[in-house]
Structure formats: C-alpha cells, structure tokens
Subunit: 341 residues, 2 copies
Amino acid sequence: MDKNKKKASLKDVASYVGVSTSLVSFVLNGKGRLHRVSEETIAKIKKAAEKLNYQPNSFAKSLREGKSRVIGVVLSDISNPFFSMIARYLEDEAEKYGYSILFASSDENRDRAEKQIAHLVSRGADGIILVPCEKSEKTVEAVLETGKPLILIDRYFPTIRTNYVCLNNREVSRLATEHLLTHGFSHPGVIAYDTTLQHMQDRVNGYKQAMTEAGKAGLISESRVKEANLHNAISGSISRMLAEGVDSLLFATNNIATEALKVIKGKGIRIPEDLGIIGFDGGNAFELFHVPVSYIRQPISLLAQKAVEIIMDEILMGEKMTHQVEVQGSLVITESSIKSC
Amino acid sequence: MDKNKKKASLKDVASYVGVSTSLVSFVLNGKGRLHRVSEETIAKIKKAAEKLNYQPNSFAKSLREGKSRVIGVVLSDISNPFFSMIARYLEDEAEKYGYSILFASSDENRDRAEKQIAHLVSRGADGIILVPCEKSEKTVEAVLETGKPLILIDRYFPTIRTNYVCLNNREVSRLATEHLLTHGFSHPGVIAYDTTLQHMQDRVNGYKQAMTEAGKAGLISESRVKEANLHNAISGSISRMLAEGVDSLLFATNNIATEALKVIKGKGIRIPEDLGIIGFDGGNAFELFHVPVSYIRQPISLLAQKAVEIIMDEILMGEKMTHQVEVQGSLVITESSIKSC
DNA sequence: TTGGATAATTAAATCGTTTTAGCTAAATTT
DNA sequence: AAATTTAGCTAAAACGATTTAATTATCCAA
C-alpha cells in the first residue's frame, strides 16, 4: 500500500509541467483564456492535473476565498420522519449548487440549538437553515446580527424579520376543519402541541376560524398536548373530548396523529362512526391503520427547494431582501373524515 | 447593522494584548504552561480572546493541521427511517469527539456513491462511514487505497478486508425462523431483496439453516423481491407462497415488512391464523397494524456507537488493525408469530 | 565578570490556494 | 527606429492558523 503518497498540490502540477502555480490555478478554474494562457499550455496543464489526480485542497480554497460551500442545517431531530424527509430534499437541492450540508439536531432544546449553530458557523458554514425551537428568538437574532445568511424553515417568529419558508398552516387547518363540518361532523376538536411557536398557533387558529365561521365558536373546546409523556396525554385528551361531545379530531402534527391512532386502536374507537379524523403529513405508518386516514399534505420538497433557493441567492448574489414564503398544503381525503349518513 | 465587523483573528487578539500570535496560539490551545508563558500573560490573552469573541478559523486550522474534524457518511437514503435513526446516533456519537458529520445519500446507486465519497474526501473528511451498495466493491477498495479511514456499516463485503459493523444477520434470522417453527408454524418462508449484498444473503441463509436443522430443507421455497415495483412484487410473492402452503413469513427488512403489512391488510389475510409474521426493525408504523407484530430488533445505537468508536480510533490514534464487529439482534415476540392451538 | 541555565517571548516558515501587479519578448503602430 | 500594444507568463502577497528555532532578559554559580 502506498498510503504515504501525498495528494498532489497545485505546486506539484506546476513543477511537473514546468510553469508557475498561477498558470495552473488559472487554467484549472477555467480562466485560462481570460488570462491569455496559450492553448498549448492549457492542454499540458490539464493533462498533468489529470495524470497526477490533482484534487484542490478545499481548506486552502476556503481560507483564501472565505467561502466553504457548506450550508449548516439545524433541525429538531433528523430521526423524525418529517425532518428526515426535509433533510433529504435539502441535500438534493444543495447539491445542485455544488453545496454540501452539515446537519445537527437540536432536540427542541434552545441551548443545544445555540451550540449547534455556533459550531456550524465556526466550521465555516456559508449559511444556516434552521428549524427554530420554542423561545429561541434571541438565538435567531444573534445569527442575524452576524450577517450570516439565515432562513427558517417549517416555523417562524412573527416578531422577527427573517427569511422563512413554511406551510399555510392557518388556511389549510381551516380547510380541514371546514371539511369535517361539511361531511357529517358537527363538533370537531383539535389536538396540538402546547407551544408558543407560531406555526402551531396557526394550526389551532385555523381550526378556530372555521368553527367561528360556522357559527360554532361556542363549541371551541381545545385540548393542548404537552410533548412530555405524549402518549398518555393524548389518550387522556381523546377520552375527555369524546365525553364532551367532540365527534371528530384534527391532529396538528404527524407525531400527534400517529400516537393518536395508536390510542384509537387501543380503545377500539370506530373511525369514522365514533370519531372522524384528519392527520398531518401522510406516511407509511398511516397506511397500516385499519381505516384509510385523511390528512393534510405538506409539499416537503417545495419547502426544501424554496429554502435552498432563497439562501443560495443570499450567499451567491448577496440578495438583501427578506423572503417570506408560504407554501400551500392540500387535503388528502379518505374514509376517516367522511361520515356516511 | 454592523455586518462589516470582521471576525477577530489570532493576530487581532495578539495586537490587542501586545504580544505575538505565537503566544496567543499557545495559550488558547492550552499549551501555555508547556511553553512557559507567564500566568499574567495567560490571563490577559484569555480575557482578550473572550472580549473580542475570538473564534478560530477552522479552514486555517485544518489547512495547517491536515485535519478537518469532520466525518463523511454516505448512506442509502437519509429519509429511510432505519438510516435516519443511524444518522442521528452517528451524529450524537461523533459529537462526543468534537466531530461533525457530513451526510450524503447514495440511493443504492454505485456511481452516485462514488461521487459522494469523492466529494466528501475532497471536502476534507477525516474518515468515511459507508453503507455500501451492491457491486460497489471497487469503490470501497478505491477508498482503502487512499489510506483514508473507512468503516462499513450495516453491510460488508466478505471479499474485502475492511472495518465493518453489522448485525449478526444469519444467527438472528435463524432464531426467528426457529421461533416460527416451534410456535405452530410448520412451513415458514422468507421475503428478502434480490441482491448479492452479503447481509441480505445472511438473512436468507439464517432462514435456510433453521429449516435445514429442522429437517425441512425440502420445504425451502424462497421468494426474492426486486426493489423496483416493490409493492406489487411483494403482493405477488405473498399470494404465490400462500398457494404453495407457506404458513408464516420472515420479512428481511423494515421496508419489506411495511409493504407486506399493507398487502396483508389489503388482502384480508388473518394474522396469525392464516399467516404468522416476523418483521425487521420495529417502529411506529407496526404499532398501527391491527395485530401486534413480532420483529427482529437491531441495536441501532450500538451499531452507530461502534462505527464511530472504531473510525475515531483510526483517525486519532492511527489504529492499524481491522475491526469487524457483529452486534447482536434480538427477537421481540408478540401475537403475530404465535399460533394458538 | 564570565558563562551557563532558565524564563519569557518572538520571528519566520509552512499549509495550498487565489489574485494582483509586474515582467519580458514579440508584434504592431507611428 | 522609437514608442506602444499585446501575448504569455511569473513573483509575491494574502488568507489565519501552528510550530520550530531563535532571541532577549534575568538570575545564579564559579
């Protein structure tokens, strides 16, 4: 094994051909013509680079150029299906620009997120894509102060002027509720996380709006679920709401929906006879449930595409405007949300 | 906004305190005492670094040291739950060493994997953790030639001497089949991917071994499933095997198990009366199925922990030995694999 | 008081690029 | 023939750190 053969550097190529490193750099960066290097030399240099298997040293390049071609992504938890899908699309989109992605999971922990971001920045990330966690306004503002390109994804803070891409949470949630109301359910409820994060508030607000529009503001009986001890909390909520007369439920996240389906299965609640349901983000899991489950579909790939597009604009072209994009979710309707009368 | 205030460099700290950059470097790397810097100066330098919010430039550091503190990970597809779990544990383990992880998805495509690896190496990854795809022996060998630390995870090539961490596929698969044989099922079958990858062969071989040990070698009627058109292929396999008298099935991956459960639900096959089943890797999805599903549990966190441990040994200490680790899977048994007689 | 330790610090090379400014020789203009 | 332009190339600084060898100052022993 020749594990000791060092990688060839610009200098190696240069001395192999018998020219200066400048020429090699010009040629290999496609600026040969611009710097009027002779065709002959261009050819020789290219051949030599090939032959020596020259690979530019990315550290030297980054040091010199002040660019890393890496985007840092901090999301809630990459093992959560929703976020791992986002991760995958971000990866694909970034690749189109020749960028790589450095991932980190915050676990919805503010301090952890702060550390992760600092770490990514110190690693030289050219920009940050962030799924911000609750009460992390200061963290976000700190990144903004840096001037480092930043875009929030999935969530945003109404009080902070940043780039963000998120779902039209309120509207799609309103639509889902309206659908329940017009398909045999007179008393819908909603189960959401008990967080101040705006996207979650929006999902609840969409529900409230639909109820109000239907003249049922009086029926609003929301149950919020704390993330801790999720399964039990959801189980309790469902029992309580059923007792109160709720006849259908909107689940505000994929996780909540999945846990709720387990509870429903466990309690033997009939869908849609006893309870109409609409989940968030379909997925393999739902398909194993004994009744097809209606859900709100998020265009995850679009979410990722927009996020990368916007941050790349800022990184590459110095775009200064703030972009705030809402992508449109849609309703996928099946048996679980239609009461046959 | 003071977006123009450049980050402070070593030189800035040095001139702020009125010393040379050497001293600052010594002190901030904890080698102050070693180079007998006076306590007074140490204190001054630390305070100044704090005050100027000095963050070392990682490119300069990497360039000089020839280390990046980044591990490159190429896996099949980060949006696949199994791999996103691995990704998450890898992230956590690497963090313990102060390392970050650069992810890339190969989509089981050899050329893509090759490109991704090249990309990660050119990005300066100190080592590569790889889920190799079919027929990628040459790619793996090419990495080995480089001398860059490498470890395969989840899969391996018996013909190549590399570090790897994988499940005791054959044994756990044998156990699962044996379990079926001793719990009311006289004619088990297996559904696996039609690939030459050894881990998959091992899973099938474990099944065959159990059958042979039970004196039922004659009953071996395996169905292999091509990845393309998965759902339909599995549907066909299940029908065919049931017709052939198969009374129970071992599914060799989580994906196969999930798709199979959908088929089973669709066809109204009763579990375990008509068919006993054992899946691979439990997960949220299984819990929504109307019968609790037995499965083979992989210690994913251990898999990741070992992988990082081994590659870090090589990166940091120049460990030269090849480590080949098999972690032990276990059977999680519920109703789906026990025929009540 | 000369020489040798010892303590405290610094100068300068180095890592591998990119890029600006400058140099030489040939070609063209006046 | 002198001046200018152009073609083709190179030298050297810069990016921001680490590290080796060198330097200065101080103190102590002989």
